[in-house]
């Protein structure tokens, strides 16, 4: 027996067809292709046939270790120090090129910390990947709470019946509808080291005591600059989501609270915030996913530099796949990103579940 879904709804399926085809072509197929490519040595253009390599791409990328270097000692057994009085350590290649430790072969230093006469060096086969992963995590950890909080603050401010309040809504929402590429270009001018708006403003406000900073050219400030600009750009979008959540709270609840003698803070604590529970889950998950996918800002503003200080996973995936023609490597990064986002979303859902 055929169900009504397949027999009577031919027109319905016909209407859905274009959408289904597009989703299949641009979302579902690439997803599986990506997983497939990540298990091969697929290149963008190559005379050689593609080979199945199993999890080699992942192993190469995730391979990380901590090795200890003992400080050099002189013949008397005393630590050799340099001109600054710091202990001197043997070069890392004494391990990574040592035939006795083939497992560290070809690995490079990511960072190190020194305790006494021992230097602990974190080495990885694919340092750029790890930097990209770390930067992406920092980006998400900064953007998600700050953007959500500012968006909620703005939503609370504009959720009032005031003359001209729509002007403020429009102003806050405007960056969202401007292309991120355009926004990034504009902010490059703002952050410019020579005559950027930000340097000029800080200089003016500090009576010319502020020393100009090349915000995007300095490894210490570049990621922070991009984080700030990204928060500003999308805050209006989340403000609108919060606003819609605020407006689902029945006004009589506020009136009841007012009659019971609730202060502004108590009203927020007991009425507004519990009423925003579902919105909060949505906003957090959406921001987290968007933040993990950061690409355009990096591509336009820094291209991952300086010194890989703004490398991110998606930027690396694109650079690897198309810049270096390493489709397999780019796919592997994409799959890892997918798994990270999946796990985090599930954890968030679990933490904010209905109890």
């Amino acid at each position: 027996m055929r169900s009504s879904l397949t027999s009577a709804n031919r027109a319905g399926w016909a209407f859905a067809l274009p959408g289904i085809v597009l989703i299949l072509a641009f979302i579902i197929t690439p997803f599986f292709l990506g997983v497939g490519f990540s298990l091969t040595n697929q290149r963008l253009i190559s005379p050689n046939a593609t080979r199945f390599v199993g999890l080699e791409n992942y192993r190469e990328m995730l391979n990380i270790a901590v090795v200890d270097l003992q400080a050099k000692t002189d013949s008397a057994g005393k630590t050799v120090t340099d001109a600054d009085g710091q202990a001197e350590f043997p070069r890392l290649r004494s391990i990574t090129r040592n035939p006795d430790t083939p497992q560290y072969h070809g690995m490079q230093e990511w960072f190190r910390w020194v305790s006494g006469d021992t230097a602990h060096v974190v080495i990885a086969s694919d340092v750029v990947f790890w930097k990209a992963l770390l930067n992406t995590c920092i980006f998400v950890l900064m953007v998600a709470p700050i953007q959500a909080a500012i968006a909620l603050g703005l939503a609370l401010l504009i959720n009032q019946k005031l003359r001209g309040i729509t002007i403020f809504r429009t102003i806050y929402f405007m960056p969202v509808v401007v292309s991120i590429v355009v926004v990034s270009l504009l902010w490059r001018f703002i952050y410019s080291g020579q005559n950027g708006l930000l340097n000029n403003m800080l200089s003016f406000l500090s009576f010319a005591h502020f020393q100009p900073v090349d915000w995007l050219g300095n490894p210490h400030t570049a990621l922070g600059a991009i984080i700030t600009m990204s928060i500003w750009q999308a805050v209006g979008f989340h403000m609108v989501i919060w606003l819609s959540g605020l407006q689902t709270i029945p006004p009589t609840l506020y009136e009841a609270a007012a009659i019971e003698g609730s202060s502004k803070w108590q009203t927020f604590r007991y009425v507004t915030w519990p009423g925003l529970r579902h919105t909060a889950v949505l906003v957090l998950i959406v921001i987290t996913m968007q933040a993990f996918a950061i690409f355009a800002q990096i591509d336009v503003m820094t291209k991952g530099g300086p010194l890989d200080s703004t490398q991110t996973l998606v930027f690396q995936a694109v650079q690897r796949g198309y810049g270096m023609q390493n489709i397999a490597g780019g796919s592997a990064i994409s799959v890892i990103l997918f798994l990270i986002v999946l796990v985090i979303s599930m954890i968030q859902r679990w933490l904010t579940r209905e109890r």
């Binding site: 609840l253 009841a256 007012a258 019971e260 003698g261 609730s262 007991y270 009425v271 519990p274």
Partner: protein, 356 residues
Amino acid sequence: MADIKLRGLRKSYGAHEVIRGVDIDIADGEFCVFVGPSGCGKSTLLRMIAGLEDISGGTLEIDGERVNDVQPRERGVAMVFQSYAIFPHMSVRENMAFGLTISGASKAEKAEKVQRAAEILQMEHLLDRRPSQLSGGQRQRVAIGRAITRNPSVFLFDEPLSNLDAALRMDMRMQIGKLHKQLGATMIYVTHDQVEAMTLADKIVVLRDGLVMQSGSPMELYHNPANRFVAGFLGAPSMNFLEVEVLEADSENAKVARHSMDPIVVPVRGRKFAPGDTALLGLRPQYVTPSTPDEGVLHGQVSLVERLGSETVVDLAMEDGTSLIAAFSEDKQFERGERIDLAFDPARTHLFHPDE
């Protein structure tokens, strides 16, 4: 405990005035019901007393103090809303203790007051439930419980039973009546349901278009309506108004007649009529009785019969085309299309000017 005085109270939204000078005195411990059709301003008036709406003019006194500009929480009032307005994420216990929680009451005090309120409302077994697990009537009891725990001097009810089904409404109506007796607090109750008004009130205030039409005890309003609006609003089915011509009139009585109705003498109840005036004869459906063709005053054809069990309501089409509603308590059978004759006691009628 507190008495409430409204003096020339006004409220306008821009140029539109919705409360147009209202004077009401509510005594300490009185149960006062504001009643009127939708849009008459009764809810606005209640919200002005609660402090949820600003007062545009006049004065509002609670317990002898002018409170026009006092915050809602400092007026000593508690309010029960039509939509219950209980907090969905809190248990019944937390909801009822809400006012105490935000004023920083101790745990012991909260527990004691919630327990007392729950006993009064017979809902001790519901305290740990969530609002989503409660029926409409139970939710409304939670809202009333939240009002009780704060021990306010004035209770405000804004159509609290309108969202409940008929059986529950009657049950809750009785509970609210008992609650008033038990607590002895001043209560103001807004409704469009005249049964609630008649059964609960010590004093009914009938409102229309932002003005008080009449205020007084339920029976006073029922038997001596000040105008045609009050006469038509209270009582179900509502009063019939028959157009009549005044033949003779003095300060006590008037002799009136209409097409196909013999002249009768009715009381004028303080109104002044002159011979030749057109007037409206108000006749409650319950005061009309079946009669014989010789003795009957009104004659017509039955166009609709509604049997309610205790009462039979008949819609009568009279010879000149006007219709008349009659309600008979005895179990008499009427058929559609049947010709019947009716009589009434002229002393129980009201005579109004047509433009009242």
